[in-house]
Amino acid sequence: MAQFLQVLLSGLATGSIYALAAVGFSLVWQAAQAVNFAQGEFVMLPAFLVLIGEHWLHWPLWAALLFGFALSILLLGLAFKRLIVQPFGPDGGLPLVIATMALSILLKEAVKTFYGAEAEPFPSLLPNGTFHVGGAVVSVRDVLNLLAALAVVLLLTLFLDRTKTGRQMQAAAQNPGVAEILGVDVARMTLYAFLLNAALAAVASFLITPVYLAKFSNGESLGIVAFIAAIIGGFNRIRGALVGGLLIGVLDNLTATYVTLSYRAALPLVLLIAVILWRPQGLLGDEEARIV
């Protein structure tokens, strides 16, 4: 029981990082029908931007974090939209998918070439240590990671549901034609979705990199998992992506502990196949990809 609790909690902690990436993924999908296969690299890169601030520019950690966050929003939000997504027009389709795959390779190789192929330690923003709950050893960092990620997703949903700008973003994503005739600035709302995705990716990066170290290849599995989490939860639902991310994190840890380590990478794919067979709209999704 104690071990189960431990495994469950660390699964939720990992899953919450997947969830951040998946939520951003689904935001960009909803706003621009862009499937971003570079999402994993979007989570890999911000940590390196912080390391650049720290080691190359010799800034204190807080300044480096701020720098990494701002540059992430600029590069992964604004530049990604303007330079990669926008040129393909409103319906980018397969060419855009291939472009994001190319971007993923570019980001990975650029980090490898210009920063290094070695795993770099990344400063932890959260206290280390453990505490005991009913015989289970619980990592403080896991709990705080989970809480931080949940808080971010909660804030995001509050923003989308409770503010006028958030609802304009929803309108622009669900029905751009209607949003336009009501005078909503659809292009700006789409940009906000890209900026939010970049912010989510940066937060995910800062939370997960202390655990796994900063490495150019960090995004490889993360991108796929985020993609699968978004599909499992329901591609057109923020909450779906959250649930999908947490679910994969937990099942991943449970399989690794109780079944076998060798097949843990296959688990998200098995889940994906099961969901596509039995509930193609996702666990929380609607039948339509977009609601008219």
Partner: protein, 238 residues
Amino acid sequence: MLELSDIRAGYADVQILNGVDLALRPATITTVIGPNGAGKSTLFRAIFGLIRVRSGSIRFGAEEITNEKPARLLARGIAYVPQGRNVVARLSVRHNLELGAVTLADQSLVAPRIEAVMDRFPALRQHQARKAGDLSGGQQKLLEIARALLLDPKLLLIDEPSIGLSPNLVRDVFKVLQGLRDAGVTVLMVEQNTKAALAISDDGLVLELGRARMHAPAAQLLADPAVGRLFLGAAIEG
């Protein structure tokens, strides 16, 4: 009020409007009739800045508004209710109404105006917390009209309001339009249900092959045997 002169517009290689001239009298209802493909909806999209006008000019009052963006036109007092379903399905009725007022400069006016349209359409007040997509087709149409009224438009463009509505609801919608006209709003409407629409209209416009063929008082069009034969289904009904 609204004046179009020699408007040409279309999609890609296909020109749909081939020089439309039209002048609306203020505080009237004008119904556009014509066969499928005559360019009725395209005319609305051209006026509302959703497709580019290639040549000609559109004036609203004394102002030139050709090819202005919807947000700008809304601010000038032009509202547009397209055909089909145009609510944001997952947002509540109230939030849909709020969206109708995003271009309003003075946001403190939004809440009282929402109250005012809900007084006019009590069903919307009753369902204000429900998702717009869960309303019946007729209620959704009323919601769209109510949403268009939030900006207190001077000109309302409304495309096929009766599609998919029960006869009772069509009567309700037409009553709303008459009420607006009586309150000084100018209404330009496209409607399949031509006879009923002309019956509540002041003027009618016959659009054919992207040109205004006839623009006359509605009563005159209703009485015109040629118009009846061609566009009002008189021949079929005997």
